[in-house]
């Protein structure tokens, strides 16, 4: 393991296996891991029941705790933290993948219609089969997201289709599906409509260990997926012709990576509902910490997304007694100011480089 200079003069850490990491990316990663851990500790301590990290330590050491403390720690707070982090990670990573695929910094699962596809199929399932087992919801979300992805691929087929074509078609599909969502909310029976509206706002209320185990394979999939797709996504950023010149088989790798993004986005939608704007926000915030590309960008985006959702959940639970604050709203309250600051910093950085 050695520290070397890259061709652009920046420091990189070279491992014996040949893997290289920019030091700036490594520091950003450590900072985000620290932030996520700190927020998770805060989240463990926040809630109506007087308990926290120290009690969790006692529990891990095999000591007996009161029922209320065990319930608060193991049935409410831990599932919310883990589900929130995994959902945020997946949405942000899917957003970073789609931005590279579309060569557009605004792309995210919502803008491509992938989240809407998952939502509409879940809504149709709940409206038509209200007693259907909830365990099939993730598969339904996946089917909806995949259907949108396949439609997108079919619509933009052909060698001359670029990132802009995917984005525009995605926006068109998203608009149509949003209308379908509105119609379903208006005309489904009230109890279904209430449940759907609640879920559309994003919620960790249903987070539990069964859900975590169901989500875990998709979250685990994101790690090898980031390793496999990272290099190719960097090539996509240079344009299709250049990517192919660099040896990237664009005609099949683009749909494959879109498929991976769908898997991640659908899993998150099924777990917590659509986390609007997180897919755009998290990669840009990660980009301010360290202007990474490829694999590093995917991992930093995932960490930023997970950290933001934990922070949003803390805000939601801090005001739980009096203020009805849904996860989606608290995510916006925390993320959007950071996003604006990040964009201003980027603009200032660009000006100073001129």
């Amino acid at each position: 393991m050695k520290i070397r200079r890259a061709l652009d003069g920046k420091s990189v850490l070279r491992l014996r296996t040949g893997l290289e990491m920019r030091l700036s990316n490594l520091w950003a990663c450590l900072f985000l891991v620290f932030a996520a851990t700190t927020l998770a500790v805060m989240s463990i301590n926040v809630g109506f029941t007087r308990t926290g990290v120290s009690d969790l330590g006692h529990l891990a050491a095999g000591e007996r705790l009161g029922g209320a403390e065990v319930f608060a720690l193991l049935d409410v707070r831990m599932p919310r933290i883990l589900t929130g982090f995994m959902a945020g990670w997946c949405v942000a990573m899917a957003g970073a993948m789609l931005q590279a695929l579309a060569r557009n910094p605004l792309a995210d699962p919502g803008l491509f219609g992938l989240s809407q596809g998952s939502m509409v199929t879940i809504m149709v399932l709940l409206a038509l089969f209200p007693t259907a087992p909830r365990s099939i919801i993730p598969l339904t979300a996946l089917a909806g997201g995949l259907l949108v992805a396949l439609t997108l691929i079919w619509l933009v087929r052909g060698d001359r289709s670029g990132g802009l074509a995917i984005l525009l078609m995605g926006i068109a599909i998203e608009t149509v599906l949003s209308s379908v969502t509105g119609i379903l909310i208006l005309y489904t029976p009230a109890e279904t409509s209430y449940a759907l509206s609640d879920w559309l706002a994003g919620s960790l209320f249903r987070a539990d260990w069964n859900g975590i185990w169901a989500f875990m394979p998709w979250f685990a999939l994101s790690i090898p997926a980031a390793f496999v797709t990272g290099r190719a996504l960097r090539s996509f950023g240079l344009g299709d012709d250049m990517a192919m010149a660099l040896g990237e088989p664009v005609p099949w790798s683009r749909p494959t990576f879109l498929f991976v993004a769908v898997l991640l986005s659908s899993a998150a939608v099924a777990a917590v509902g659509p986390l609007i704007f997180l897919g755009v926000m998290a990669p840009h915030l990660a980009g301010i910490l360290s202007p990474a590309t490829g694999r590093a960008r995917l991992f930093l985006s995932g960490l930023t997304g997970g950290t933001l959702v934990i922070a949003a959940d803390i805000l939601t639970r801090l005001v739980a007694a009096d203020v009805p604050l849904q996860l989606g709203l608290s995510l916006s309250l925390i993320g959007v100011p950071l996003f604006i600051i990040a964009l201003r910093l980027r603009a200032l950085r660009t000006i100073s480089n001129l």
């Binding site: 049935d75 109890e191 409509s193």
Partner: protein, 322 residues
Amino acid sequence: MRLAIQFAIVLMLAIGPALASDRLVVDDAGRKVQVPQAPKRIVVLHEAALGVPIAELGIAPVGSYGRDDQGASLLTVDFYKIVLAGSAPKPLPRGIGAIGNMDLERLRALSPDLIIGTEHNVDRARQLSKIAPVYLQNSSTGRVRGNESQEALSRLLKRTKEFTALKRSYAQRVKTVRDALPHNPNGKTYLGIFITDQINLIGEMSGLVQAFQDLGYTRLDVSGIGAIKGFGSALLVPISPEVFASLNPDLLVMMNSYGKPQREEAHIRQNLDRIIPGWARFLKPARDGRIIFLDSAKVTTPSFASANHTLDAVRAWASHQK
């Protein structure tokens, strides 16, 4: 042998009370629920549709959705105080988090032995079941009428005696009011209007509907006039102002939304004037003095208390007519 019999007796004595303390029921969502024989610490997820009827049956809920930690209402109206007045639970039920942000830890801290929700809470039942058994009671138009949900709750909570006593006293009151009416209500129609930022027809549940039905009135047939059927709605069915202006029930019942603090006649008139200016000059029931103004907070719960508030208002109107 003797040892075996002794063991069997000891086992029965030990298990017997545990078996007797719970019973298996099927709720309105078709879920099998193990509920206590006599629930004492009930949390309700809807104050007007569930909390008030249960409190009237003599069980004070320990927790109610839409209140704070001290029991103060987070809504514009406190249904327990307004509907039940002197019979309101003391102390008032405590809250379980803000509306739309239910707090499982707060809920568990109340140590409920039964959580009762409406059919709208079906998606939350699994999480809530970790704390206490969750029973879902139908409470919406198209599924229950009048005070049917209170009767169902009385059976669930083994309070049928209390329900019968309330019904007996209410029936006497119905007879008195019926005798005081200026006309025979048999064959006459009524229509309840709930004014929010639009005009809504009152659905089929609530004490108000029960009272008019028991007095002998029939709800004006609104099928085919453009009103949405309202299946699944807890209380309201929107109707267009143009259609409303053409309606002519024998008795028109009007009320402002309980989301507003001003619910008296003057404010109801003012509110409707914003939607249909000059309605008092051309609406037939208005011209003939066939309108009763009610306080929606008092009459829209499925309870005898709400039905009695309605009867009081009808009686006051009838005495004015005479």
